[in-house]
Every structure is written in C-alpha cells, then in structure tokens.
Symmetry: D2
Subunit: 430 residues, 4 copies
C-alpha cells in the first residue's frame, strides 16, 4: 500500500481553501482518504473501542457513510433505497431527531456488520453519490454534501486519535505506522512573544465558503492589547513543570482539575511514562522517547491552565487567537505532512505552528456567538447542543486533514479530555 | 423566639450599601443572623447532610467561625489561641493551602463536636473578634473581617437551601417556617421587554467598597442592542413548558442537559410534584401548591436554556444583565423580607425583580475577567479555582442576606445544579 | 444515669434461658434496655448513619417499636390506633409484604420525627403493650411478643455496632463509654485444641422455647472427627499474620477476598491503625491500644478464612461448633458484663469463649435446614430471604444482650462485612 | 468447513470416560475442537468482549495455549522457549502466583497479537506438545496435560456462551450456526418425580481417573429421603411463572435476587423477549421462538430458587443430585450432539436430562469438601479460591464437550449469573 506520506507527495499538492477543486473531486478524495487511513489496520483493530469517548474505525467508516445516506441520498436521489435499514440504528451517532440508536459505549461490540460488509456499504453509497453528482445539484444538496465532506474529515482525525487510544491500551503498543527517518534530538526555539494591539475586531465566519454553523455569525469583539507566544509549549517545558511538582501543587489547579489529578492519578500528559533517563510517550509511531523540542500533546484544558499559571502566563482567548491568526498564512503540518505527531517549531521569526501540529486550548468556553441559531432539523444538532461545559481549541493538528481547518474554526472538548492532539500556546497582557 | 420577619421589622431597616454601619456593627449583626437562622432547627436537623453538595447547618455555623479564626484571629490578635486544634480538620472547607480536611461528603457524620460545643465555639470566637475590634485594625485585618462577613452571608444562604434539601428528602416534609398570611392566587404581569442600546460599557467592580476578587478588574465590554424581560419566568409559564412536552423533546436541550433529563428522570423543577389539579413544590414554607405568578425556582442552567429555546428567546449574558441592572435601584425581596420564597412581580412598568426572589441564570460561563489574578495565599482559593464548567447567575434571591448582593456580583454553579433559588429571565436581540 | 454495668449489678442477675421470668417482665426489661443503651448518646448522635449497612440509633428505637405496632398491636389489641400513620413508611425495614418504605441508605436523613417524638412513640406503644398484656394473650400474640423481644435484642446489638461505625468515622473518635479500670497487658493462653468424635448428631432447635425459624427443623448431621481450638484467635496472632505479609499474599485468599483487599486497601481488621510501637483500634471505649491477648474482632469471613489458611487450620462448620457447644454451659461475656469489647480468655482447661466476646465465623454458608419453610406473611421475611451469599456465625458477642443467644442460634453476614464483633476460632481434622 | 454435527458423525463416536483413547489422541482432539469451534467466527467476532464476565474467542484460544506453555512445556520440555514472553501478561487469566496480567475487563481490547498470530501460537505450542508426548511422560507431566485438556474443554463451553453474549448484544442478532431442520412444536412430558431413600452415601471423586481437586476427597454424606423431578423445568412452565407475576412478587425471592430483579429490571430469563403471540430468545441458532417443551435456560440461581418456591418445590442439594445420578448412564445431549441449545426431554420413564442440555442449579453453596486441600502452586488456584458466594451446578449442558462432565463434577457460578446454559430440576422431601 502506498503510504500516506507518499500519497501526499504523489498527488497534486492540496490547495487549501482553493475553490478550483470541484465538490465531486473533494468528495472522492475524502472518501478515499478514510479508506486509506483504515488500511494499515486489521479488521480486528477496526472493530474495537478502547474507551467510551472513542469509536471503532469501522464505526467511523460506516457512520460517515450513513451520514451521506441519511441526510443526502434519501432526500435528493430519486429512487434511492438504503443499503440496509438496520444500519441507521447501528451507525447514527447522536441525532435525536433521527431516532433511537446503538448506545455509544457499545459501539465496539458491533462485530456485525463485518468490516467487509461495511466496505461494501461504503462502495454502494459512493456509487449512489456518484449518480447524484452526475446531476445538477440543488443548492441545499450541495451544502449537505459539503457538510458531509467536512464531517468525514472530522471523523478521519478521530479515527486516528481513537486508534491511538486502542493501541495505547494494551501491552504490545504497536505503531499505527513506523516513523520516518530521524529528526529528533532537536532543540526548541526560545520562548518569545508577539504583541497585538487592542481594539474592536470582526471575528467569525462570513460568506459563501463552507464553515460550520458554530463559526458564525460574524460579529465584533473588543480586545485589549495582548501578547501571544510564537510557538506552542514544548515537551521540555512541560517536563520542567512535572519536575517542579506541578502535578502535586493544588494551588496551581482549577478545582475540577485537581479532582482529576487525584482521582485519575494524573502525573503527566496522557500516554506519558517516566523511564530511566527520560520520558516515553505512546504515539501513532509507537512507544517512543519524547522529543523535547516538539509541542507537548495529549494534555487537558485543566492541565494547560495549570501549566500557564505555573509559568506566569495564561491561555489566549479564542478571539485573541483568531485575530492573531489573521496575520499568518493558513498552512501548517496537518495530516498530509505525514508526521502523525507534532513536530518542533522552526527557529523562524514570528508566529509559528498556528495551524497543524496540535490543537491549542483557549481560555474561552464553547458558547454560541451573538445571534447564533442552530439549523432546523437533524443537522442542527451538529454543533449547537454541545455548547455547555466545553472549551474551544483552535488551529488544527497533525491529524487534521489538509484543507479542513480555518482561521474561524472552533473545535471543542470537555476540559478533562486529553486523547486528541491537544496542546497549548501561552499568552499574556501586553 | 422572634421570627425573622419580626426581627427585620424590629431592627432598624438595613441600609443596603450604606457605609454608615460600622464594620463592627455589621460583624455583630451577621454573626447574630447565622444563629437566628439556625434557631428554628433542632440539633438533629442541624447535623445531617442530605446530599454531597449540601452541608449541615452545624457545619456552616462552625466553618464560618473557623474562617475568622484561621484567617483573622490567628494572624492579627496577639496571644490568640485556637479553640480546639482539631476543628481545623473538621471545618476547613476547601482551602488546600491550609491543609487536610474532613471529606465533604462526610460532613453530615460529624455528630461531634456537638451543636452545643459549636455554639460555645462561636461565642468564644465572637468574644475574640470583639477584642480584636477594640483595637485599631490594620487595613489587611479589616479587609479580612469584611471578607469574613461576606463569606458568612454566603453560608447563610446555603444554610437555608441546604436545610430545604434535607427537609425535602424525607417523608414528613416539614416547613422551616410557616408561611405568613397568604398572597397566592395572584396573576403574573404579562411578559414584556425593555430595550437596551449596544455599545462599549464598563463592567465589573472598582473602588474601595468590598467586592469579591472575581468581580474585577473593571473592564470594557462590547454589547449589541438587546432586550431583557421585565420580570422572571413564572411557574405558570414553566408549567406550560412541561405540558407542551418540554422534558420529552431532545431537540430543545443541550446534550449534557438531555443526559440529565434521562439519567435523573427530570420532569420538572427540583421539588416539583404533579398532583391532582396542579403542582406542588417543597419550599421553606413546607410542601405547597405552586403559585403560578411567582418566579419558577430550582431549575438548572440546562433547564433554563431549554426553556428559553422553547420560548423562542435566550438567556442574557452576564454583561447584558449588569448593564441593565445599572438602571434600577439596588433593592429587592432578599432575606430580610422574610418570604423565604420568590414572590410574583408587581405589575409596574420597567424592570422588576432584578434583585432578590431568584438568582438568574445567565448564558455566560464563569471565567476570569481580563487581567484577573487570584489573591496570594489561602483566600486566593476563594473564587478563582472554580472558573471551569460553571455558569454565572446574577441578582440574589429570597435567601440572600440583605445588603450582600451587588450589581457586579457573580454567583456561579454547575449547569446541572438546582438546589439554590435559581430561576431565569428571558432576553433576545433587539 | 445508672451505667449499664451498674444496672446489671443492681438488677437481679438475668437467668439465661430461665422460664421463670414472665413474658411481660422480659418485654419491659428489653424495652428499657434499648432506652438505656441510647442514653449516653445525644440526639445528634442518634440521628446519623455512617454507612449503608448501619442504621441510626433513633431508627433502631423507632423500628423496634413499629415492629410491635405492626405485627402485634394492630392485630391483637382491640381499638388500637397507630401512633402516626406515616411512621410505617419511615420505620419499616425490609418487609416487602407490608408495603413501601424509606430507602435504607437514607435512614440517616430522618431528622423528623425528632428524637423526642420517637421517645413519645416508644412510650405510647409501651403503654399499649401493657394494656395488651393485661389480658389473657392468644398463643399467636404471645409468640409475636416473644419474637418482638428477640427482634429488639438483635437491634440492641446493632445499635452498638452501628454507633461504633459512626464514632469511628470522624476525627474526634469519642468513646461510647469510658473503659472500666484496666485489665490489659494480659497474656493469652497458649493455643490448644479439644478433640471431638465423629458420628451422627442432632442439630437445630426443637421444642416450645423460642427460637428463630432458621434454627430448625432439628435434623441429623454426619460429622467426621474434628478438633476445635479452646479459645478464639487473638490480636497477637493476627498481628503476626499482618506482619508476615498476610494482607499482601494473594494465595492465602479467596478470590472475592483478594478483590476486597485490593479495592478497599485492607491492611488489618476494621478500625485497626498501625502506630508507633503497636496498633490501635477504635472501640466503644474509644481509640485504644490493641490488647494482644483479647480476641481479634472486626474481621470479615474472607479475612478469617485467609488467616486460618495461613495458620494451617480451617474454620469449623456451624455443626461442629454446635456439637462442641453442647459440652459447655450457655454463658459468656455478653452485654450485661459491661465490657463492650472482647476480653482475653481465662487460662482454664477446655473450651473457652464459646459464648460472648465475639461472634465466630464458621465455614458454613447460610442455607436453609432440610425441611425449612418460612412462616407465612411478613414475619416469614425475617430470616429466610437472606439465605444466599452469607456465612453463619455462632456464639454471640460482647454486645449481644444477655439471654439472647442459644446453642442453635445462627447469625449471618456477608463475607466482606466486618462492622459487627466478628472473630474466629480455628479447627482442623482430628 | 465440516460442521460440528457432521464432524461428530464422521468421527468415531466419542467413548465417554473410555480409557482407551490415549492422552495424546485426546489432546489432539481437544486442541482441534477449539479451532473448529472458532472457525465460524470472523477475526472481528473473535476479538470482542461483550461483558466483563465473558472473554473473547481469541483470548480463549490463546489462554488455553498459554496454560500448556506455562504449566507443562516450560517445566517438562527440555530446551523449550516460550513463543513470546509478552503473552504471559496478555493471556494469564487469574493465576496470582504466576504474576501480573492484563485486566480481565480489558481482554476485548487485545487486537494485538492478531488472530493470525494466535493461530500460529497455537500451532507452535501444539508442535512442542507433540515433541513432549513423543517421550515417556513423567506422571506429573501427564497429570498436567490431562488438566490442560480438561481446562481447554471448559473454555470451549465458555467460548460458546461468551460468543452468544456478544451476538445477543447487538442489533443484528446473528446465529453462530443455523439450526438443523426443526424439531420444535413439541410437548413436554408431564412433570413427575422419582423417589430416593435416605441414608449415608459416599460422594465425591476417588481413584486414578482425572477429576478436579474440588471433587474430592470422597466422603460420606447423610441424606434424608427425597424426590427428584424426572426432567428439567421447561420454558412453558417458566412462562407460566412469568405470567403469574413471578417477577413482580417480592415474597418469592431471596433478598439478593429481588435486588437484581429491581436493579436489572429482570422480567424473564436472559435473552428472553416478549413478542406478539409468544416469546423469543436469542440462542446460538439466532433469535428464535422459545420451544415450550425445552428446558428453560439462562436463569440465575436467584430465579431458579424463586421459581421453585413459586412451584411449591425446592432445588436439590448437590449430593441428592449426585446420588440420583448414580442410577443413570453417563450420557446426554452434550456438545457433540450439535444442538447447541437444550432440547425437550423424551417421554421415557425415569430420570431424563441428568447430563447435557442445561447445567442444573443446586441449592448447595460451593464449599470445600471435608479434608479438601488445594494443590500447591499455581494450579492450586484453579478451583479452591472461588469457594465463596457461589452455588454448585451439576450435569453439563448442550455446550459441554463430550466426555468432559462426570457424576461428581461441580460447576459453580455466582447466584446472579445467567449467561451459561443454566436451568433447574425440582426436588422435594419424600
């Protein structure tokens, strides 16, 4: 099989945010990428669920397919008949409007339908999508295909982080893919900051290009002058925090965070293990020595917040981040780069790593923008109903499909969750 | 015993926010009020804890006393010796800096020290505070006494809501105090809205008067034009929500809220019970028919949010609320009124019920204001460490001691909690 | 108040199993003893429940009263009216036939009815019982009064072990009663064994005297020759087990026991704490140094079984115990002795400590005897429905009311429970 | 692939308890049968674990292999090297003496080693066993091979009941194997009883033939005259129990059973579902109408006990069962028959179904026989450490490998467990 890295090299470079790639091409590419991401995995690997938050690979492959079937094909392809009526129960994720569904913590019990049947399901739906796209597409249908593409890209990232949680759970700790030759041993650029003026800024998405509903309405925010670190916090800095007793000092922590430290016995980022002479961390490249210069990853909001307090800084708000991001090109080490883990910042001047490498926790609770209204119907459940108890992350990661992230993109997770590629960038008052 | 209502009548009327009442007078009054609030309760009533979130009355009485002992007397009264060294372990609430403490869910097991011993403890500390206040007080000491007064006022409110949770837990459903001669049968003023202009506003506390650290720094916020309901949502409106299937319609709910509805079998506000011909609700006046015109109370953030969505409105942000509150006098039906439950709005023009009756959920997550820094030492644990996963409530309730609440006051609870006097006021875009 | 010990001295010595004491006298004595046992406790102490298995003192006082009301007075006293109809819901323990009841883990929330009301309730029911016993009593009524006496005696023992669980749960560790002038420093008699022949033996209760239904029918059992230790296992022996790594050696344990060791972090008997120079254990006489010569107490079946395996012995069966007990007088250090904790065996020859001091775990599962049928109606729920997952203990303890235990008496608890006065005696094949 | 049924036909009929089959032949047959039982299952089916009590097929295949490696090959085959040192951690079940192991509830996460690797592991160990058996075998080695055969047979039964728990957990409810051409619609033989005399009987295993340690020592028991039903309780009888309100009548139940009924919402046997016009039950032949004449299966001890009480009978003791079993040939519908579900009794005279069809719950707690000593070392953990909280079942089931069960065989499960082929036979006093 062609490796992801090679695939990326062999294919024309993805033009991020290009409008030239047709919807059909992007649909085909996206559908193919899911299959490719699953290909290093056996059917066994694809069926199991390591924890309630994660889903099996096979479930991702089927659910993203069901999404097109339920929201696009059933409505817009005349004469379409669903592949198997029982799949809606199996592969609906959380759409209450659609009906009952298999309980989330039991997704890993679905040995039937088999991996082979799910691949056939995918092919069948792909073929139907192909027929649909042969026709002139109603605008609403096109929007839903676009949503389906972006939805599937999100699941591609989850597929990778979920398989990592599985591979980290057992004693054998296999690599999803072996790391490429060397890098490592690098030294991080020193911590420095870029200053930004205060003022009133427009934030949020506007316009015809695709964005999730939670990115709008575009609106004004008032910011005070602030400074933002040029790069993410590194493993080396995090290890200093550990060794300074960060995980044993309650006054550094939010109360909910300290509860997690104690009840879950947190002593470092997820998958970290102290070993002789250093630290190891499970990764998609296997269980490896931690690269001191690379961004720390797999830390929760609570940990990020405690670290920032220890360091004498704070997390940026999501709007500070977005305003700062306006000054840099929308590019970074996302999935197509093939690293599958965050890489050290280059020693250049100015903001680095704003896109790719790790999602960056912000200090902003995930809440609706002024004037936000969820879309009617089931797709309205996509984002809005999670606007409670979660925090916003920005910028994408090493597992985010190329072209998926935007400056206005709002990712969100609970403050105790750590299994995504989550890191942080420091900020402070100017 | 003189009833609270009578006490309020007999005493000179509390001058809210008056600076004329001396610190010493306010200390004495506050300490006396705690004792008075406990007086209708037997020692048995005072020792038990109905749920993890609640604390026993005796514990409140002792903890507020320990607060003065630990943070004021030990530091500022020469020669002071603590009443009993073991009490710090018993009655420290959550101050990690101070040391280990009795586990919160086991506060209700502390039959020793006895109620009588705790009363002696209070008297002993009161006497020492008296000696301290005989002297010229260092500014820091005065600030900490002020903090201790406000801290004790917060516990007075908790004492009442916690005893309600106890009295609601058993089959006998006693009244904390019988209701005064009836009001009831009232009709609510029709729902109407007041419009506010957008713009840049200053919010947060500034100046020499006491405020909690989480109310500052004062800073600018940018608001869009908005409308705010003239009164709180009533029981009658909430019953309409219930009877329209509000608790059975997942699309109205945040995902975390719907989980609560299902796992906790929520079918109405806390303490609500459907009965023939209407609804009853447990209250500090016993188990009573719900007053349709009174503000709904004991609803969670998730319920308030679902109601607002059902009604076609939203919750105000905490800053909208604060800006609107600038236009009305700082007065309302707080504890001194003696109702012990929220009362219907009067049919006047303009904003009603902004203070007192029920705490009003806002749509704002409880987060630090720009530039916020927690105070050093244990009192720095007072507010800042809870800035995660909670939402802000504004305005005080029928159980808030007179003079305690401010326009800038930020109360905060988890979005699933309901045992406080929590209600809501609707808002929308202008 | 007259102490228990003095009460025992002042009163005519209880004639165990004597038939001369009239039913009425024994009823009065039993009812009075409950009140006396509660008298060192404040109303606060009496209302709280330290764990699900335990009940508050007030609840014991009320439940035993309700038992007479529900099963005797309502049926046999013409014109009787219950004291308060709501009490059946409050104070029914587990009689499904009688109707719904307050949940067991919430017994400690019943601050109402108050202690004073429960005392009035007791007096009222006592007065009604007095009237009932003025008349000639139907045989069935007499049997139920007898059952009520024995039932209340069981609750007297629970009252003491439950209050110990409460007093052990807090930091102040008060004594229920101060110990009398010391014994202590004693040395245990060396471990020796008495041999018994095998054969067919009659076991179980028969005849007119009172016994619980689970003690019959009397039936034959076949025993092999066996040896029984002359005394119970001592603290000194148990400490040797601890210090030999008994709690860290999985092969000594039943699987369910090892699970408890690990999940509950058992490192010694309940209430044991290692201290400089020895061990302390919470007791009804307060937190005290362990007496090496006294029987170990507050050990579970799983611990007793592991100890026996470590020591190279086994637990006796309940029938071995019963056959051996036939050879010794039915007397021992039960409640009337006033020790309130197990005392060292005297250095005499032959079986010691068969009655009183500690209940002795046997290796017999608690199962029905051949031909056992539970009584019809609610009293049939008394014993039979617990014949699953529990083990039999024999012989009574230092907290068992005088005259309550019999040679055929079968006490039973789950194999992980430890809060009763539970110890063990070793046995082996002859 | 040759079906199990055909395999049984094609092969020489298994001679149960025959001594003529050599150890080697039986080893080969047993090892082959495991592979054959797994063969209808995909690698996906084989890796997943539906509940904590169950294990994945792959884990069974690997664990039984590890058993030979750890207990036989490492000790007795010179020069033997383990296949992969990490497998001991993965595939040790509960042998504390051997060392740490992968947590039981996470066995279903072991996607690595793969199914293919486990098959290679099996082949490698089979080859080593072959080499071992080429030599003259030390008696201890032969005993351990025999134990390994019997151990693997037990796991064959678990493999089937565990895969049933998996297939029942999802919405598709696949058959492990389609049922053969129908029987069904049958009518059960009327309930009748066989009488047995009382007396002293020898029970338990003795002699050179293989038996588990828990079957001995052989010893005398004293029985009273009793009657035993000629056949097992049928589905038809059980449905009568359901429809008479058996699951809603607390007085029929042991307290622990009633807790299960309420907390788990038991309304019938495991996998039972009420449907229009009757009941369906998931089985290894798929989701099928219940056969009224077939033995009820998948009922817990608590249910069996409640049913017997409702019917006016009781469960037999394990010794009554064993004594009765002496009168019938050691044969029945075990795995080789190929039914994979219990079948109706034939209308013959005398005891039917004593072996095969369903394991029969007895009223005997699983306890050691007089004089029982566990073997030293890890194999001593095989049975003895489970002698707490479990009940004995007798007679084997439709999933028990041919030749595995004995008259003295003691199976044991917790009284709430139901996922095995568990049924019951009624008994009463003569």
């Amino acid at each position: 099989m062609m490796s992801l890295r090679n695939a990326a090299l062999a294919k024309p470079q993805p033009k991020t945010e290009s409008k030239s790639a047709s919807l059909r091409d992007r649909l085909i590419e996206t559908r193919a990428l899911s299959t490719e991401l699953a290909s290093p995995l056996s059917d066994e690997d694809q069926v199991v669920q390591a924890m309630d938050d994660a889903s099996p690979t096979k479930w991702h492959l089927a659910h993203t397919t069901w999404f097109f079937e339920a929201f696009v094909l059933k409505r817009f392809l005349p004469g379409f008949r669903v592949f198997d009526e029982r799949y809606e129960y199996c592969f609906n994720s959380y759409y209450e409007s659609v009906g009952p569904r298999h309980p989330r913590p039991k997704r890993g019990l679905l040995t039937r339908p088999s991996g082979e049947e799910v691949r056939t399901y995918r092919a069948s739906v792909d073929e139907a999508l192909d027929r649909l796209l042969d026709q002139a597409l109603a605008p609403e249908a096109a929007e839903l295909v676009e949503l389906g593409i972006n939805h599937e890209q999100q699941h591609q990232e989850l597929l990778l982080t979920d398989i990592l949680s599985l591979f980290a759970s057992g004693p054998l700790k296999p690599a999803y893919r072996q790391a490429g030759p060397g890098v490592g041993g690098s030294e991080a650029a020193p911590l420095s900051f870029v200053s930004f003026d205060g003022g009133i800024f427009d934030v949020g998405h506007e316009g015809a290009a695709f964005a999730y509903d939670n990115e709008g309405p575009r609106h004004e925010v008032l910011l005070r002058p602030f400074k933002l670190a040029t790069r993410c916090v590194t493993n080396e800095e995090w290890i200093e925090f550990i060794e300074d007793g960060g995980y044993r000092t309650p006054t550094l922590w939010l109360a909910d965070g300290w509860n997690m430290v104690q009840s879950q016995d947190w002593q470092g980022p997820l998958y970290f293990e102290a070993a002789e002479g250093g630290y190891l961390q499970m990764s998609l490249n296997g269980f490896r020595p931690v690269d001191p210069a690379a961004p720390v990853t797999h830390v929760s909001y609570c940990e990020a917040d405690a670290f920032a307090r220890w360091a004498g800084y704070r997390l940026p708000t999501e709007f500070e981040w977005e305003v700062a991001a306006a000054s840099v090109p929308l590019q970074g080490r996302t999935l197509g780069e093939g690293h599958l883990r965050p890489m050290p910042a280059s020693p250049s001047v100015g903001l680095q790593q704003m896109f790719g490498d790790v999602w960056e926790w912000t200090g902003s609770a995930y809440l609706p923008y002024p004037g936000f209204k969820a879309a009617p119907g089931a797709v309205g459940e996509y984002n809005g109903k999670f606007m409670c108890n979660q925090f916003v992350l920005r910028g994408g990661s090493c597992a985010t499909p190329d072209g998926h992230v935007r400056r206005t993109y709002r990712n969100f997770f609970y403050p105790h969750q750590r299994w995504q590629f989550m890191g942080l960038r420091l900020a402070c008052e100017a």
